[in-house]
């Protein structure tokens, strides 16, 4: 069995295993797995409205996945996507409501603000990693909580003691009457094009730019990159900044497209953590992230149909997603199994 085939098979097997274990969980807890997965399917593809909402859900997942994947390629684990997304959400919502500008300036400005806020939130762990060798995992986790509490406080300030920001002006909105109408008035917005454009940007940086070459070199072997004359510190900081910018744009999807404002939050959105799953499943490649995001975005949105249609708690899908992460992470054992099967066949 070739390595390339195994690399594709590991995520596929993980998805199948995840869905199977999910079915067993449903069966054991007295629910009908067939009815459950039928409801899930209909929740994703049932009608044009569902499809529109599913695609809308996929957009932030793509960006969160890109953020995690981009950092991974430089050998960094950015668990802080959640926090970067939250600050990006707030920045976009604030710029969207506080300024009055023509659309051609306002919308790009709001997107830029979100990217800049996310980038700033990535810069701090990047700087600490590059200059003081502080492990980015812990710093980004802490930055998540700082983002959550800080943004909650800022929302209070901006709304003069309220719990949500004012709605953004239409000039900053990603909403699209056209997309909404062809999907039976879903909340589908132009964000998906922003997300797909960023997929292209990530591919372009990694495959067509000197910067991307250096970033990947640092990811493969820091010492070799250093020896070859690359500035490892600069590359680590750049990787975290770009990763944070992707995550911040993920927040802009929510601010400028789906919600049009931001409310104070008791907890995280979960999109950032699911982004880890997306990147992992997509093997940290731009195209892989699109597939991973499509799968998890669909599962997350489709799950909303499960309580009504099959009377199964929505959390079953979170269980399945967690299991898929678990199996992909344990890819080593799947590889060992696959190699063994391959060897047996060769022996015959």
């Amino acid at each position: 069995m070739s390595n390339r085939l195994i690399n594709v098979l590991v995520p596929v097997i993980s998805i199948i295993l995840g869905l199977l274990v999910g079915a067993v969980v449903m069966l054991v807890s007295g629910y009908d797995p067939v009815a459950g997965y039928t409801a899930l399917w209909n929740g994703i593809f049932g009608d044009s409205y569902a499809i529109g909402e599913t695609i809308r859900q996929i957009s932030p997942y793509i960006l969160a996945g890109l953020a995690v994947a981009f950092a991974f390629r430089t050998g960094l684990f950015n668990i802080g996507v959640e926090g970067q997304l939250i600050v990006g959400w707030f920045a976009a919502a604030y710029v969207g409501m506080a300024f009055e500008l023509p659309k051609i300036i306002h919308l790009p400005l709001a997107l830029l603000a979100a990217a800049a806020a996310g980038a700033l939130w990535g810069l701090i762990p990047g700087l600490l990693k590059a200059t003081l060798k502080v492990h980015e995992v812990i710093v980004t986790i802490m930055m998540n909580y700082i983002a959550l509490h800080l943004v909650n406080a800022l929302i209070k300030v901006v709304s003069k003691g309220g719990f949500k920001t004012d709605k953004i002006h239409d000039t900053a909105s990603l909403r699209s009457d056209f997309l909404s109408e062809i999907t039976d008035f879903s909340t589908l917005h132009y964000g998906i094009f922003v997300a797909l454009f960023m997929v292209f940007i990530m591919w372009f940086i990694l495959e067509r730019m000197k910067l991307g070459y250096e970033l990947k070199s640092v990811g493969f072997n820091e010492n070799a990159a250093q020896y070859a004359g690359m500035n490892v510190k600069k590359n680590i900081i750049m990787a975290m900044v770009i990763s944070g910018a992707f995550a911040g744009l993920g927040g802009a999807m929510e601010a400028l497209g789906t919600f049009g404002n931001m409310s104070t939050r008791a907890g995280f959105t979960g999109i950032g953590f699911d982004g880890i799953a997306v990147a992992l499943l997509g093997a940290n490649t731009p195209l892989g992230v699109v597939f991973g995001a499509s799968l998890f975005g669909s599962l997350k949105y489709g799950a909303n149909n499960m309580p009504n249609a099959a009377n199964i708690p929505i959390e079953i899908v979170s269980i399945v997603i967690a299991l898929i992460i678990f199996f992909v992470a344990s890819g080593y054992i799947i590889r060992v199994g696959l190699k063994r099967i391959g060897k047996k066949k060769e022996a015959k």
Partner: protein, 320 residues
Amino acid sequence: MGGFLDILYFIVPISIAYAAPLIFTAIGGVFSERSGVINIGLEGLMVMGAFVGIVFNLFFVDTFGAWTPWVSILAAMLVSAIFSLMHAVASITFRADQVVSGVAINLLGIAIALFLVKMIYGKGQTDFIQEKIPRFNIPFLQDIPVLGPMFFKSVYGSSILAIAIAILAWFIIYKTPFGLRLRSVGEHPMAADTMGIKVNRIRYIAVIISGGLAGMGGAVYAQTMTNDFGHATINGQGFMALAAMIFGKWHPIGAMGAALFFGFAQALAISSSGIPFMENVPSVYLYILPYALTIIALAGFIGKANGPKALGDPYVKGSR
């Protein structure tokens, strides 16, 4: 001066109550990470503990009466210890990325707990428990002037247990053969292996201990603070315990101290509006204090915080 003391009498017991669950969980983290296994999954293990603690309490309150909260903590400890086996199998035997596996544990913990809550109760949160963790007045000590009312009057039994566990953990890790082995497999597993120490077995035990302690932490939090279980019952306490472990430099007593300090910050954040001098400090500073301090500690501004050397590396026999 009298006013100041009154504030302390008010705030110190709340701080300790908030700190106790963090102490349990942070000590759990110390065990796991000292053996070389990163445990980001503490949050998920705490969620599981809180869920089991509350549900067990609700179901068996008639059987165990006043002892219910304690038996519930025990049940939570067992279930979370078993749950942590998943993390152990993935990160030790299957050589999974330990951070990713921990993230999966976090997602899985809250998903399973909420799934079961909806299945059992048909709504997003459980009922409220009737038997809570009791408070004690410690005889003699409570009569000490100043310190008595602060530390020894109407303290939760679980807080006393937490401090006892921290001291016990210190004894185990630094004064017993098992502790020496634990530390050695976290620093240099190959050297430990050549001395005949079963590296993976020690790591399994350490992860299971961390699961059990995080489960206790969750059950204590739920049975002292919220008294029911819902999606926001455990909301970052696991990560704060992780922070306490790092701030305490992977040392049980240090972790306890950090947890007490973070508990103090939390207590200040929720009650600052009622305290003179503090009412003008926006509570957001107090909320982010533990996290900001952890970053500062890691950056080396408050002494150097260095983790165990082999942290995060699966041990593969024969590789160098």
